[in-house]
Subunit: 390 residues, 2 copies
Amino acid sequence: MSHTAKQPLEGIRVVDLTRVLSGPFCTMLLGDMGAEIIKIEPPQKGDVVRQQGGIRNGLSWYFAAFNRNKKSVELDLYEEGDKALLAEMIRTADVLVENFRPGVLERMGFGTDALKRLNPRLVTCAINGYGSTGPYADRPAFDFIAQAMSGFMSINGRADQEPLRSGQPITDLVAGLYAAFGVVNALRARDANGEGQHVESAMLNGIVSFMAYLASEHLMTGELPARTGNDHPLVAPYGLFRARDGEVAVAPSNDVVLRRFMRAIDLESLLDDPRFDDNAKRFERRDELNALIDERMMGESQAFWIERLNGAGVPSGKVQNIAEALAHPQIAAQDMVIDVEHPGRGTVRMTGFPVKLSDTPCMVRMPAPELGAHNDEILEPLRRKMRQTA
Amino acid sequence: MSHTAKQPLEGIRVVDLTRVLSGPFCTMLLGDMGAEIIKIEPPQKGDVVRQQGGIRNGLSWYFAAFNRNKKSVELDLYEEGDKALLAEMIRTADVLVENFRPGVLERMGFGTDALKRLNPRLVTCAINGYGSTGPYADRPAFDFIAQAMSGFMSINGRADQEPLRSGQPITDLVAGLYAAFGVVNALRARDANGEGQHVESAMLNGIVSFMAYLASEHLMTGELPARTGNDHPLVAPYGLFRARDGEVAVAPSNDVVLRRFMRAIDLESLLDDPRFDDNAKRFERRDELNALIDERMMGESQAFWIERLNGAGVPSGKVQNIAEALAHPQIAAQDMVIDVEHPGRGTVRMTGFPVKLSDTPCMVRMPAPELGAHNDEILEPLRRKMRQTA
């Protein structure tokens, strides 16, 4: 490990015009990789997330988690002097990320052409709900609506009940992650050809691309995938089974693993039973088979089975709540919960870095900023330059 | 748009040792950005996904969708001659991606140190369930189990029922996308310092990082987030409402949007009603409020309300099934369903590119490969070189 190695995005300056979640998540990922993120916030108020969720010592932990490694500069984007400062900042930047509705930035005077004139090397990135073209481009977007429209909800939930949204704001996060991937690729293209370009990531597109085999099956057959709760739509046994003191999640994804599972619970003979000797039969008699498995597993504890099954090569685990998940020794070993000191606000706990780079790892170089904390540092050099060229 | 611009990863050669979903999704993303992906498959059999899902003209559409832009080379990684070929290939490569269980590749003779000796510029990427360190590193992993352990299931579903898995294989896809992001960053670091490094992306870590504000709230308060179905855990009204001919998803995320919503359905006066004049009251009397909204919305059609609400700036939409989603004009306008010609196998429909780059866009340069289609093209030059240096 070369300790002097620069982070992948060191030296990259990002003008961050994003608010709330999808955009700040994107720029957080870029900042974690070493980019300088200049978060532009409305004067006095700042990103609305500063007031959202639990607040301790005047600091929103939700804000703190999604805005680590960022600098904060207050600019009023409806005021001419501040817009001139933003233009000057854009001249010094490598990337601009925004998550306004399509057209909003252009009405502020910073459309794609204007940005290209200011800085031909600038990589611009728009994160939005539906993309900037098409009949729904102008609609206001929100995670729940993108989930609904994408088909995600139609396959999430139980067969006998209504479609369900994801408990996580999944379309915001997927769009933000795709955007970050797109920006780094655009930077790499610029390394080769010297030119910036425009990157776009839409919440609806991102979550649709996650339809995976469900999309493939539908596109081939025209059929609709079933909403099957925790049951696998095609394979049995699979899902949650009952041990003496709690449930055990088991995912035997193919015949080899299934045999290991049935052997580990001493029910291998059922695989030769004419009622259950192929997947079609097991699937049809799923309730009967699951009952036999539950009966056997009720004889031992959850921990016993999870240990035994994993030892036998059968993926298995416990349904953990968030407390159990975040306190788990594996999560600790992977540094997936970290403590960040916020001067005057105390220590904030947040989730860590999901991508591990051995030589140029992600790190917290600075905590989430106080509103306007970097006004002078960032704006003074710009003002000086503007006076010189005036 | 400079039509001669190279794609961001053009000239990057990826040795792809991955199978099934998380890994092939990662290398698909790299291939979409222009990298040469050499998919190494077991002789005769190939990736098991070649036999999974619906098959038409001998081709799995699931396989076709996740393996576009890849070349296929058959190598037996348990055979010395083939391992020597793989070693030679690694000398010519920029990236190696694998999704074996931790330790498996090392036992084949391709541990991190061996790879570094073969090629110090190689970026290696491991995608796995739990990460390569910690008490669970050696456990077999599977999407359903990672969902269970991460806390995802604990917040997905209805309050009065069991925790639910996501209908999408979400942890596979998130881990694959994070891995692709990590690889491009590592390539950019290599552009600067000349050295490869190791990238790791674990399914559990990725989905935990998606806990967003749910993690922040728990880490501050110690409390567990409620599982609330389609209701917002903190805000009312929000969710699915009943129009005459179907449901309407509405997400008024703040007071401004809420007022727009209530005005658009001619119930603005309720916001001054002492029963509903702040969020705490609305939340407590949610059932009563929702019933009043349903009563009003039952008077008009789904399409009427969705049009009116979006026009008023209120995010709103329909819960679409996959057929409706993939056939939607917005998805068409965004090229999110594409047709790819597979010689001898017909035209395969698949989801398109969720990240749009204006000048160096993602494209299908070649369809998913026949098993071993590129044996000669890739292996002959390696054999020649080995004969010369022998």
